[in-house]
Amino acid sequence: MSLNQVKINDFVIRFANVNGTGSASANYLFCKSIFRMGVPVTPKNIFPSNIQGLPTWYEVRVSEKGYLGRREGIDIMVCVNPQSMLKDVGNVRTGGYFLYDSSKPLHSNYIRDDIHYIGIPLMEMCNEAFTDPRQRQLFKNIIYVGALAALLEIDFKVFESLLAEQFAGKEKLIAPNIKALQMGVDYIHEHYSDPIDIRVEQRDLVGDSIMIDGNTACGLGAVYGGATVAAWYPITPSTSVIESFMNFSDEYRIDPETGKRNVAIIQAEDELAAIGMVIGANWNGARSFTATSGPGLSLMNEFLGLAYFAEIPTVLIDVQRTGPSTGMPTRTQQSDTLEAAYASHGDTKHILLFPSTPKECFEMTADAFDLTEQLQTPVIVMTDLDLGMNDHMSKPFQWDDHRQYKRGKVLDAEALEGIERFGRYLDVDGDGIPYRTYPGTHPTKGSYFTRGTSRDEYAVYTESGDAYVRNMDRLMKKWNTAKSYVPGPHLYQEVNLSTYGILFFGTSEYSTEEAIDILKAEGVQLDAIRIKSFPFNDTVEEFIHSHDKVFVVEQNRDAQMKSLLMIELSINPEKLVSVLNYDGLPITADQIVNSIKSGLSFSDLK
């Protein structure tokens, strides 16, 4: 092998597997080993909507500089899937490496003269070393991890400790795993003694970071946020939010004295029922949420309008996937923005939160319960498949034990005693937010009729146009109040450094930050802002107004966030330049850079 300049801690490796063959845990072991070496790493699962037998890829980007977005250009391909081999060979960058199972000779179709081949007879080795057919299958994956450890010079001790943790309580599984790893290491040492030009070196760059997926974080956030009723209907990629909530509930929501559960989790018959249950529970004073994805969100529209108009707290976690319709159910997108913002018929608007990291998934989910009760309107957490189902390096989660749940304006029996006549929809405080009561509070005061029909300030049905307009205007006032409740954007600079800005949200964060650095190195300065919520507050508006052009990065075809900005802030469309990606894979820095370069005359920017 020829030795070019050695790339240390900067490469992309892709594993091509068949789903259902146990590759996930081996690939994760590889990824985690790099994390344990103190080097920033970001894995992406590219999987089919199928349970067994179809191609699946796991891509790991290793980045000394800490870039956590996806990157195009595969440096090392580990291919153990004959079905996808042709495509996989083609995807390796010139000069890259192709690691494959050489138990059978490689067909000449797969031979390129500009890449390196590393053949390991995985199947043969496994058949010799293991008798159990399941183990033969599983350990093929572990052997290639061992081979990679040798090629990339990953410290073997790291694997020993990872396996010890993984199999705590099932110690007898450790030895065969170590054996398989060692087989991979030995094979490389015996057959490929020349080093490759990619290497992992120990660093201290991950600090106290954790590795976790956004859905687990949302589920945990719901536990910390005090949710007691969850209703849901299975749909990829949101299911694991509820699974996480269930798992943490099993641990932290069992009353130690009675063994009874401080939580009710209902698998509903469909998403309509799921959101109906959530609304019923919130109406009755329990914190309640559901999680879904695009098709479910479509079904929930009518109920979201009811919750908006009748002013009932509702938390919905939308883990977006590629639409429209069933679309690509196992690929990511940010294409529910407009659907969520204006869900349901009539004049409706909903509060949206846009987490970018697992830490924000945790925090925003917990915060959503405060916001929805304070504002008495639905709050939708807009995450996506990339954030929800992939592991991400994240700052550790934090919780302030002094934090109290903000239950909003709720009158108890004592407060009701002091009131002449309770008006459910009266704007007592001038902020558009009325007072509510829970059923069962007081024998004679505070009861009212919740309805989706128009009513007056005392919740009495009316068809008076004046009363209707008063109510709609109050809802608008409440919407404006919400701007000071929702999390403000992250501004990357204190003063503007450029006449050009870039605006982004959610999982476009990593790649956009990287793109900004790339452009800067080329002499192009961009001011940056990351939106965290809708309604947009004044900072967002000022940012756009104070720049000549603003690039809007988003992962959908129709530039939905751009539309939302135009509609809500009356921005001239000419001013907003879209940077779009909608192929179902997470957006990359190169895509952003190229789009920006082609969207404007590059010399204009400099």
């Binding site: 106290d208 970071s209 590795m211 976790i212 945990l220 910390y224 005090g226 007691t228 009723v229 209703a231 932290y252 009353d255 009675t258 063994g259 009874k260 559960r261 401080n262 939580v263 009710a264 989790i265 209902i266 018959e269 469909d270 309509l272 029922a273 109906g276 249950m277 959530v278 609304i279 019923g280 529970a281 919130n282 109406w283 009755n284 004073g285 329990a286 309640s288 109920f303 009811l306 550790p396 989660f397 934090q398 919780w399 302030d400 009561t437 829970y438 059923p439 069962g440 007081h442 024998p443 004679t444 009861s447 009212y448 009729f449 919740t450 989706g452 029909t453 009495v460 049905y461 009316t462």
Partner: protein
């Protein structure tokens, strides 16, 4: 429009054990058509709640959309009410019940609301045995949208405009029994003496209690040729039995002929005492209940009364083992694992 009822009442109305007279259980003035069967059912609910000494604020009333679903505004004005969206009352009731198991939940729906758009939620709330009373005010048509056939209209039944229904009807009571509802009854809005005890028994039932009440729509479906008209139902009604509540140890005073009686012991130690029982029917036997309903149908009769009861139902809370304390009363101290736990969770993810 909802009108407030004039508050003047005769001072000598009798009071129940809580000291409330029946007018305390009323709601605002009904805006339904004069003679609408739904108003009689509202009156039955008022009477039952009064007789059972229910604290109105400890009851939540929920509905979907339709003339029938408007009625919760017309009874129990001190109860919280929720007029939700068309066909979705069961899910809202499920969430509400999960939040606070200590209230009584009364759901009101129509035949359109339950047998068409809401069929999915209707069957699933039964499967889960939610502890609630579920009343369908069944007029065989969509009253509020001006009289179209509903899925409970009998095949061959004619409505006011002369249109004859071609399709098979859905029999909600049979369906409920089939799905495992633990209390199923059928009645007629025009028979208060039967309806009130049924509503009382349903409210006392600690599981899903369904009452399908035939409730004529005087405006669109009360004509000759309709099988949901007052005249037709009066002529074709047949009862499984009559019954009363009997507190434990109380002496049974009324005498009926031997062999036509049965008592069913309830969860709280009280009894249901059945009289004049139909042949081959046992209120605790699902198969006999289904047979009785089907046999009545063959004879062109509408079987009313209690059809089936499981006196010891296991409700949703019991099935999923939720806390006896209402979930909406739990505080941060009960619910939030705190920062130390979070630290150890973080550690697991390094």
């Amino acid at each position: 429009m909802t009108y407030l009822r004039p508050k003047f009442r005769h001072p000598e109305l009798p009071k129940n054990n809580l000291g409330y007279s029946v007018d305390y259980y009323e709601g605002s003035l009904s805006t339904l058509c004069a003679g609408c069967g739904h108003d009689s059912i509202s009156a039955g609910i008022i009477q039952a709640a009064y007789e059972l000494d229910i604290e109105p604020h400890r009851l939540a009333k929920l509905s979907g959309i339709g003339c029938s679903s408007k009625t919760p505004a017309y009874f129990l004005s001190n109860s919280h009410g929720f007029n939700s969206v068309h066909g979705r009352m069961p899910s809202v009731a499920t969430g509400a019940n999960m939040a606070n198991r200590d209230l009584i939940y009364l759901g009101v729906s129509g035949d359109g609301d339950s047998a068409s758009i809401g069929m999915g939620q209707f069957v699933h709330v039964i499967r889960r045995n939610l502890n609630m009373v579920y009343i369908v005010m069944n007029n065989g048509c969509y009253g509020l949208t001006k009289g179209q056939d509903s899925a409970t209209a009998d095949s061959g039944s004619k409505n006011k405009s002369g249109h004859v229904n071609l399709f098979q009807s859905i029999d909600l009571a049979s369906l409920a029994i089939e799905l495992g509802a633990t209390f199923v009854a059928q009645s007629f809005s025009g028979d208060k003496s039967q309806l009130v005890p049924l509503i009382k028994a349903a409210m006392n039932h600690p599981g899903f209690a369904f009452i399908n009440v035939i409730s004529p729509c005087v405006t669109f479906n009360n004509n000759p040729g309709s099988t949901k008209s007052y005249d037709f139902v009066r002529e074709h009604m047949e009862a499984t039995s009559t019954f009363d509540f009997v507190p434990e140890m109380a002496e049974i005073t009324t005498s009926y002929s031997e062999g036509s009686q049965k008592s069913v012991k309830l969860h709280d130690g009280t009894f249901l005492q059945f009289h004049k029982i139909a042949q081959d029917w046992d209120p605790e036997d699902r198969i006999s209940a289904i047979n009785a309903v089907q046999n009545a149908k063959l004879k062109n009769e509408i079987l009313t009364g209690l059809l089936y009861i499981n006196p010891e139902p296991v409700d949703l809370h019991e099935m999923i083992n939720t806390s006896l304390r209402p979930l909406n009363s739990l505080t941060k101290e009960d619910l939030c694992p705190g920062s130390e736990v979070l630290k150890s969770i973080n550690k697991d993810w390094r």
